[in-house]
């Protein structure tokens, strides 16, 4: 983190709206990636990002160290998304069953469907790491920082995530080959 970024976070913590808006511009996509990874739904993810930003603004004075501001922002988003995800589980998930009953039209659609269900089977953290990787093309180190993981933990996580996906998608993969 360079000095200008630090200064920006510090200003935002002290109530500088301009600085906070700059942070929104810079961090929204990261937050979206995390939220989408967990929720797998764009609308919900967008709402989560929005709510997280509002909450972050209201609670900004809780952050003492400007360095930790982005990680803190991501944590808010993760928790928020997790809350939303849990609440969704409580209500019966109907449209998914309907979707599965729909006749498969194309191969890609079928693969899409399978991929989604395979992703849904992964732990939240794995999904979030994957989306950060695919949406934002972040390297391992950045993802670890963003998700608050220890150094080197991501290597195993992504490896396991990919392996799990592979097992789930093996028939489809075979068909495409």
């Amino acid at each position: 983190m360079d000095a200008s970024e630090r200064e920006q976070y510090r200003a935002a913590i002290h109530g500088d709206r301009e600085a906070f808006e700059m942070i929104i511009r810079a961090q929204s996509r990261t937050l979206f990636a995390i939220a989408y990874g967990i929720l797998q739904n764009r609308e919900e993810a967008e709402d989560v990002v929005q709510d997280s930003l509002i909450k972050a603004w209201k609670m900004r004075w809780r952050v003492r160290d400007p360095e930790k501001f982005p990680a803190w922002l991501c944590m808010i988003a993760r928790h928020r998304a997790h809350d939303v995800f849990r609440r969704r589980r409580a209500v019966p998930f109907t449209h998914e069953t309907i979707e599965t009953n729909e006749p498969e039209t194309t191969d890609t659609a079928a693969i899409d469907q399978r991929l989604h269900s395979a992703l849904a089977a992964l732990p939240e953290l794995h999904r979030a790491a994957l989306t950060l990787r695919y949406f934002e093309e972040m390297d391992y180190r950045t993802i670890e920082n963003t998700l608050g993981l220890t150094n080197g933990a991501l290597r195993g996580i992504l490896g396991r995530a990919l392996a799990s996906l592979r097992k789930q998608l093996r028939p489809a993969l075979a068909s495409t080959d």
Binding site: R17, I24, W61, I111, L130, Y140, R155, R160, L162, L173
Partner: protein, 678 residues
């Protein structure tokens, strides 16, 4: 390589995301070449990556995503007004919190100071105040210069008359005050009004001026001496003195004073004297002397006796004098004009009358002013000395009077008889004894008491008092003697001593009311209470005593109790106590004696009180005992305990119920709210 094979998933993922170092890539590729299974997995992973990339690319946020987030943020958190935001932001910072607390504390301190009305003057204000004080001082110094002058005058007695003409002609001092310059002007305008009779005064003033000059000379240049001298040249000063002297003989002193007054060219104006009760004289002599001789006269007067007090005063009437003088001149001019008007006799009669009236008024004024001036002239011409004379030992008393006061308290069986006896005694000795106040009281309970006050001629007092004492038993007798000085105070060897009438106050009460000299209480245990109580009565009567009161009681358990109070004369007390022993077993004897020291008491006849309790121990079994009674008591107590606990439970319910209801209601509402939110 076993590690690569085991960890192939991680290796492949890292390879896919470009996280492998050059060395690691080499290792992976070597393994892939060796291991067919891993190669297949590698292939699958690559395919899946492609699918993932394609699928997730669709889910990426659109380019307007950030803008939407920003707009949403701005909508939901509208910018607050500057002051409010500043305040809320400030409050979140620790430094600001500390400052706020400090400010509040400071405010409280200021409030406290306001309430206790403690004023804090700044040092600057104090300095300014001090400066003002300093600046005021010079003017005060100028003011005090004036009164200081008479002191200087006193020293100037022996100085010869200097150069009065020069003094009068001296130019007005430039620094003179408004009043003084006015005086100068007046004196120049009307030189004729200064009465020629004031030669002496002028001379004196000149001397004063000379004195002043000498005093000044010691400190300043001789040339400056004329300035203050001119100021006092035409002063009108009234001098007077008060002297208080203690002398041996009043008449001698008055003669000497008259001689001294003539010597100093003065005269005795008035003499007054007053004779005191002890034959000493006190008086006042007023002497008029020339002012310049006043001090010398006072010196001489002092030789007459002991000086008790002396005051010397000077009154400056210069301004008033010359004011009146000027007004007098104006009035004279006015008078002349009015007279001229009358002489011409033109105009109506009414106008003439008006002029006459005005002329009258003016003349009245003129006379008044002339009178005033004459009075002042006389006052200035002569100094007044008031000499108060008092002969020595003026306060010595003329005579002493010895007053005796006696208090006598009597006890008698028949108060009224003694009351009448004393009255009869007084009428038989009409010359030596006189009753001033007699009172016989009988209250609602039949108690009788009397008080008699009388005056007895001193020579007969002892006989009369002895006679009165013999009427009854003397409880108390007190005599008080007082020596009163008449016509003065203190001691005197010459004064006569006289005995005044003796005052005697007698209080007569019935014997019954007399406090017992000795009180005894005892118990007698016996089998037949009734009988013994009767016996007691006869025993007491045999010993010259009386039963004052008695009670008898019997309780349900058969215990009998009789209380008897007896009163016997002290001389028969021992005999009675012996007789009591024969009645039964005497227990718990306590004796209380009241020794009244310092009072004359007839001990043999003094009353002794004895309170006797005759009792019999009950021997009937109480109906409060036995198994049935115990059972009944137990049941009653347990019923009471149950009732008590029931009451307590009721109280507890009444206490807790509102809280329980409130808590249940809150929990219910909370549940509803949580459910509603889901």
């Amino acid at each position: 390589m076993a590690t690569v094979h085991d960890d192939i998933d991680n290796w492949l993922a890292a390879d896919l995301y470009g996280e492998l170092s050059g060395e690691e890539q080499r290792q992976l590729h070597t393994h892939l070449v060796e291991c067919a299974a891993c190669r297949k997995t590698h292939q699958e992973t690559k395919t899946m990556n492609k699918i993932l990339e394609e699928t997730l690319a669709q889910q990426k946020p659109d380019p307007n995503f950030e803008q939407r987030m920003l707009v949403g943020f701005r909508n939901r958190i509208p910018e607050r007004s500057g002051l409010l935001r500043l305040l809320s932001d400030l409050m979140r910072m620790r430094a600001a919190q500390v400052t706020a607390i400090a400010a509040v504390l400071l405010g409280l301190v200021q409030l406290g100071r306001m309430i206790t009305s403690e004023t804090a003057t700044s040092p600057a204000a104090r300095d300014r105040y001090a400066n003002e004080q300093l600046f005021e001082r010079p003017s005060q110094v100028v003011g005090t210069l004036e009164p200081a002058r008479p002191g200087a005058l006193a020293k100037s007695d022996e100085l010869a008359a200097g150069k009065p003409k020069d003094v009068v002609l001296a130019p007005p001092p430039p620094a003179a005050s408004e009043t003084r310059s006015e005086v100068e002007r007046d004196s120049k305008a009307y030189p004729a009004t200064v009465p020629p009779a004031q030669a002496a005064q002028a001379e004196m003033v000149a001397k004063e001026a000379g004195g002043e000059a000498v005093v000044m000379n010691s400190a300043a240049e001789p040339s400056s001496a004329e300035t203050p001298a001119a100021e006092v040249a035409n002063r009108k000063l009234i001098r007077n003195a008060n002297v208080e002297l203690e002398i041996i003989s009043f008449d001698d002193s008055v003669q000497k004073i008259a001689a001294l007054a003539t010597e100093e060219r003065g005269y005795v104006a008035t003499t007054s004297s007053q004779k005191q009760a002890n034959g000493k004289l006190r008086g006042e002599v007023i002497v008029k002397v020339l002012p310049e001789n006043l001090d010398r006269f006072l010196q001489k007067i002092r030789g007459l006796g002991e000086l008790k007090n002396q005051t010397l005063g000077t009154e400056d009437v210069t301004k008033a004098y010359f004011d009146t003088d000027a007004r007098l001149k104006n009035a004279r001019v006015m008078e002349q004009r009015l007279i001229d008007m009358l002489k011409t006799k033109t105009g109506k009669v009414a106008d003439l009358l008006q002029v006459e009236k005005e002329l009258n008024r003016v003349r009245e004024d003129i006379e008044k002013m002339q009178g005033e001036l004459k009075y002042w002239d006389s006052q200035v011409q002569f100094a007044t000395v008031t000499i108060s004379l008092a002969e020595k030992d003026l306060e010595e008393p003329a005579a002493f009077l010895i007053k005796e006061r006696s208090q006598l308290a009597l006890y008698a069986p028949d108060v009224e008889k003694i009351y009448n006896d004393i009255k009869a005694l007084a009428s038989s000795r009409s010359r030596g004894m006189q009753i001033t106040n007699a009172q016989l009281n009988r209250d609602y309970s039949g108690r009788v008491s009397a008080t008699i006050s009388m005056l007895i001629a001193p020579e007969e007092s002892d006989a009369v008092i002895a006679r009165v004492k013999s009427f009854g038993r003397v409880e108390n007798f007190q005599t008080q003697t007082e020596r009163i000085a008449q016509g003065g105070s203190g001691m005197s060897e010459n004064a006569k001593t006289k005995r005044d009438k003796v005052e005697l106050n007698v209080t007569i009460s019935r014997e019954e009311q007399e406090q017992a000299f000795q009180q005894t209480s005892l118990r007698i245990r016996t089998s037949s209470v009734d009988e013994k109580a009767k016996d007691l009565r006869t025993v007491a009567e045999k010993q010259g005593g009386r039963v004052r009161s008695s009670t008898f009681s019997r309780d349900p358990d058969g215990r009998e109790l009789a209380n008897v109070w007896l009163r016997v004369p002290m001389k028969n007390y021992a005999a009675l106590m012996q007789a009591l022993d024969s009645l039964g077993k005497v227990e718990n004897v306590t004796v209380q004696r009241q020794d009244r020291t310092g009072t004359q008491i007839d001990e043999a006849n003094a009353p002794a009180d004895i309170s006797i309790q005759v009792y019999r121990q009950g021997n009937i079994v109480s109906h409060q005992s036995g198994p049935l009674a115990t059972l009944r008591r137990t049941l009653a107590q347990s019923a009471g305990a149950i009732m008590w606990s029931a009451r307590m439970i009721g109280v507890a319910i009444a206490f807790f119920a509102p809280w329980v209801i409130a808590i249940v209601a809150i929990v219910w509402i909370a549940k509803r709210v949580i459910r509603a939110r889901r």
